[in-house]
């Protein structure tokens, strides 16, 4: 591992993060808030730290695989550490633990929050909070790759280490920088469209932008205490349902559908399964709710669709307190959290593509019992999935479940009830942001002891970077010269 190379990249990453703090600063200046100074300080310190690191560690070498992993993982940790400065300087949080948790939750698009009263936050801080979502959604490293050239082959390593869906995600252009740019442009355009649609629904510009950030990144931070429940307009809720679904699809598909004018959505097996899961889960929850709640058809349909899509895409917006829902719906919502969006989306969790491979592999294994001599491969979109990827996915599933149980055990040891321990771990690992009970849509993560917050922060990082990228750094070999 060539640490100079790693730190020089992280230094440049910090400069980008610092630069992004300009946007909350502008909002703060516009509203003439007292937090202007705090944000300026945070910005200057981040920029300074970044510049010093870039200056100290100069390197022209190409990034290799192991450095790629280190840059991505450490990059996310550094970004979260410096990203928590605005909270600390403005006094939003007094402890670094809380500030780090909130920032990590933002960057990883988890949306779990410690703040209990959002409406007292200043505009600048509020905007920074939503902005961390938006930056993390498409990937801060991907932004870094898109903005800075001369990455060589290392860009691809970092792209793969960070991209949701890991090695299932494909490059859409021969050059990684071009791919990164296209993904970011798609992302920015969709966010822009959503903002306009929300403005049409009567939101003010600030809230529309913040909610567009939270939706497109499948994050879940809102500017309101009641979350989306604050907006009773069916229009806004339906728009958000549609855009949460859009954010959970492979963003490369939009580019292909527009540029190549082919029917890339229907040809994509993962998308078809994603749609099927979404529709069937909405239907099941709808029928479960309509029998037990006196809400009327439209409200029930909207609430069921909103909550199911929100959990499926791991956004974590809420329009209702599902702690009051029938148990069947609650269990379905938890199962949906484990599904997540498509590979190449901004959603978290296991991903539909991996589930597709797991399901097909199961079918093949059972089939082999009857036809032991058959030679059969798993095919997705009529292309054979290489054996190595199948094993990788099986291994990933095992690790995911292991991490889930170990995390639950740790949270239990810190004194949480079994429901809260399990769901707080799911909420963090799958980057959803809400669980059941006290960590549900009406509660917050404030009551969790500091050690628990660190555990959960780590789980968010594990979940966002899809385990392998983080775990590989625990191999001593990686750090050897």
């Amino acid at each position: 591992m060539r640490l100079t190379l790693v730190f020089s990249s992280i230094g440049r990453l910090l400069i980008i993060i610092g630069g992004c703090m300009l946007f909350p600063l502008l909002w703060s200046l516009y509203y003439q808030e007292s937090h202007v100074l705090a944000i300026i300080c945070a910005m200057l310190i981040t920029l300074l730290a970044g510049s010093i690191m870039t200056f100290l560690f100069k390197s022209k070498e190409t990034i290799r695989q192991r450095e790629g992993f280190a840059i991505v993982t450490l990059g996310w940790i550094f970004a979260s550490a410096f990203g928590s400065l605005p909270y600390l300087f403005s006094g939003t949080f007094t402890s670094f633990t809380d500030a780090f948790f909130e920032t990590m939750s933002g960057f990883t698009t988890t949306g779990a929050s410690i703040i209990t009263d959002f409406e007292t936050l200043s505009y600048g801080i509020m905007f920074w909070r939503c902005m961390t979502h938006w930056l993390g959604g498409m990937g801060i490293i991907l932004l870094f790759v898109a903005l800075l050239s001369q990455m060589g082959g290392g860009g691809l390593q970092m792209f793969k280490a960070e991209a949701p869906g890991g090695n299932l995600a494909e490059k859409i252009k021969p050059r990684i920088q071009e791919s990164a740019k296209i993904l970011w442009i798609t992302y920015v355009l969709l966010s822009g469209i959503l903002t306009v649609l929300l403005l049409c629904g009567g939101m003010n510009f600030f809230d529309a932008l913040c909610h567009a950030f939270g939706t497109m990144a499948t994050g879940g931070f809102s500017t309101k205490n009641l979350n989306i429940g604050y907006y009773e307009s069916p229009y806004i809720q339906w728009v958000l349902i549609i855009f949460m679904f859009i954010a959970g699809t492979n963003l490369a598909l939009y580019y292909q559908a527009i540029m190549k004018r082919n029917n890339s959505f229907w040809q994509n097996e993962e998308f078809r399964l994603y749609l099927l899961i979404a529709l069937s889960s909405v239907a099941l929850i709808f029928f479960n709710l309509i029998l037990s709640k006196p809400w009327g058809v439209e409200v029930t349909a909207r609430t069921a669709a909103f909550q199911a899509i929100s959990m499926l895409t791991t956004t974590g917006f809420a329009t209702a307190d599902y702690n009051q829902w029938p148990v069947f719906s609650q269990i379905l919502l938890i199962l949906l959290m484990f599904v997540g969006g498509c590979s190449g989306s901004t959603g978290g969790s296991i991903k539909v593509g991996r589930l597709l491979i797991l399901m097909k592999h199961t079918a093949v294994e059972i089939f082999r019992l009857i036809h032991p001599r058959s030679v059969k491969f798993i095919k997705i979109d009529n292309k054979t999935v290489p054996e190595s990827i199948v094993i990788n996915v099986l291994q990933f599933f095992f690790l995911y479940i292991m991490v889930f149980f170990m995390g639950t055990a740790m949270m239990g040891a810190l004194g949480l009830s079994i429901i809260e321990a399990m769901t707080s771990v799911i909420a963090s690992l799958c980057n959803v942001g809400f669980g059941l009970g006290d960590v549900g849509p009406t509660g917050s993560f404030a009551f969790i002891p500091p050690a628990g917050k660190w555990v959960l922060s780590f789980l968010m990082l594990l979940g966002r970077l899809e385990i392998y990228t983080v775990l590989v750094l625990f191999l001593p070999d990686v750090w050897k010269k």
Binding site: R373, V375, K376, F377
Partner: protein, 444 residues
């Protein structure tokens, strides 16, 4: 016409034979003097020893005044290069045998012209297409389509299960027009007249509109077999192409192949086909894979004896129909007697396709009917046709031939004696070998 054939293998031999019988000048080029010797002994052709892609050898063979060059060696690349060289030396038409689909499937419009090859023929693909055609009408021995698929020819056997009326042909009252163009009785081909009768054990060749064929078959008591399951033994090129074709027709396919790497290739490239890695001669495997319950078993390994043996095994286990690939054509008449329903030979089919191309011009297609030794050609009646407007019964149509179908302005006519032929019609003619020339003269 003067033709040069490069490659004196099985296909080369067949083409040389056919062209020579038709009275063309044939020169065969091959590297192996041994193979040339065999040809020289059996056929009335000239032989030249050497590399078919070499200019001096081609010149020695008289390439400059040749009308046709067919490169049919084992090597795709050599065939392609030979055609390019010969074209530059002034040959009018070129044919290349190319088996690797990667050379052929590039772009159907451009690659052939760019290479200067008029016909690229892939024997394995031709064979697979032929078997796929048979698979769609599994009850028939021969299936052919004419006039863009609007007219169909079937050959099937009249067995004791077909309750045919004991009537003369002209008295058969079927609501759907059809024509029996030939009857194969005791190894002899009869072109039937109105007063002939059908007997048990006859193989009949029937022409009818494709959309009526189902009802015509029912009229003769022939039941259509609906193919659902097919087992292919041998995952070579033919097996691979055949599986692709059957997949398109939504038929369940199993391929049994010995070689594991080949199995992996097949599993990778085919979508719904079940690939089984195993030895086809293993009776246990055939039973495990329930071969007895399949509708069609196709044996396509490179080994004739194995194909015959396993087809018989499959038949014994209960397979409804079996098709075997036999490369040595001298076996053919024997094999169908043993109980294998149908034999295909890539070499024969290739030769047929090349022959059709050679005769091209007015003739659209020529199909060789193996067991009858006859052929069916489809042609467009030229402006110079002498008997225009005369009823068929009044013209002196060559004996040993019969007009089986007509298409005029997209309308199909199953001809009777009072029908007329006018220039521009598409006619489908069934011809016995010795009448080919007469028929060509009749329509000139």
């Amino acid at each position: 016409m003067k033709a040069i054939i490069i490659g004196a293998g099985k296909v080369g031999f067949s083409i040389a034979q056919m062209l020579s019988f038709e009275g063309h000048d044939v020169v065969v080029i091959d590297r192996s003097t041994e193979r040339l010797k065999t040809i020289d002994e059996h056929l009335d052709v000239q032989v030249v020893s050497g590399n078919g892609a070499s200019v001096s050898v081609l010149k020695e063979a008289g390439v400059t005044e040749a009308d046709l060059l067919a490169a049919v060696t084992e090597l795709d690349e050599l065939n392609i290069v030979s055609c390019i060289v010969a074209r530059s030396l002034g040959v009018k038409r070129t044919i290349a045998r190319v088996r690797n689909p990667e050379y052929v499937d590039l772009d159907k419009n451009t690659s052939k012209e760019a290479l200067g090859i008029d016909l690229i023929i892939n024997p394995e693909r031709v064979t697979a297409m032929e078997i796929a055609k048979l698979a769609t009408n599994a009850e028939a021995q021969v299936v052919e389509f004419f006039a863009n698929g609007k007219i169909q020819l079937l050959e099937f056997e009249i067995t004791s299960q077909n309750p045919i009326p004991d009537k003369e042909l002209k008295d058969l009252n079927c609501p759907y027009p059809f024509l029996i163009v030939a009857i194969l009785r005791n190894g002899k081909v009869i072109i039937p007249k109105g007063n002939d009768k059908i007997k048990f054990g006859d193989m009949i060749f029937i022409l009818a509109q494709t959309k009526d064929m189902k009802d015509v078959e029912r009229f003769f008591g022939q039941r259509r077999i609906k193919l659902e399951n097919v087992v292919i033994l041998g995952g070579g090129r033919i097996g691979y192409y055949l599986a692709q074709q059957l997949e398109l027709r939504h038929i369940n396919v199993k391929i049994i192949e010995k070689n594991l790497t080949r199995c992996q290739f097949l599993a990778d490239n085919l979508n719904r086909t079940l690939v089984i890695n195993g030895d086809g001669a293993d009776l246990q495997l055939l039973e495990d894979e329930n071969v007895g319950a399949t509708d069609l078993f196709v044996a396509l390994t490179g080994d004739d004896k194995l194909n015959i043996l396993v087809s018989l095994l499959a038949k014994h286990l209960g397979t409804k129909k079996t098709i075997a690939q036999i490369r040595r054509s001298d076996y053919n008449p024997l094999v169908e007697k043993v109980g294998i329903d149908r034999v295909v030979s890539p070499r024969k089919l290739t030769a047929g396709a090349i022959l059709a191309f050679v005769r091209k011009g007015k003739i659209i297609s020529v199909t060789l009917l193996d067991d009858a030794g006859a052929e069916i050609s489809e042609l467009i009646v030229p402006e110079t046709y002498r008997h225009s407007g005369k009823a068929l019964k009044d013209v002196d149509f060559p004996s040993g031939a019969i007009v089986g179908g007509l298409m005029r302005e997209n309308k199909v006519i199953v001809p009777r004696g009072h029908d007329i032929i006018i220039p521009g019609d598409r006619v489908i003619v069934f011809t016995l070998p010795n009448s080919t020339q007469k028929v060509q003269r009749f329509f000139s």
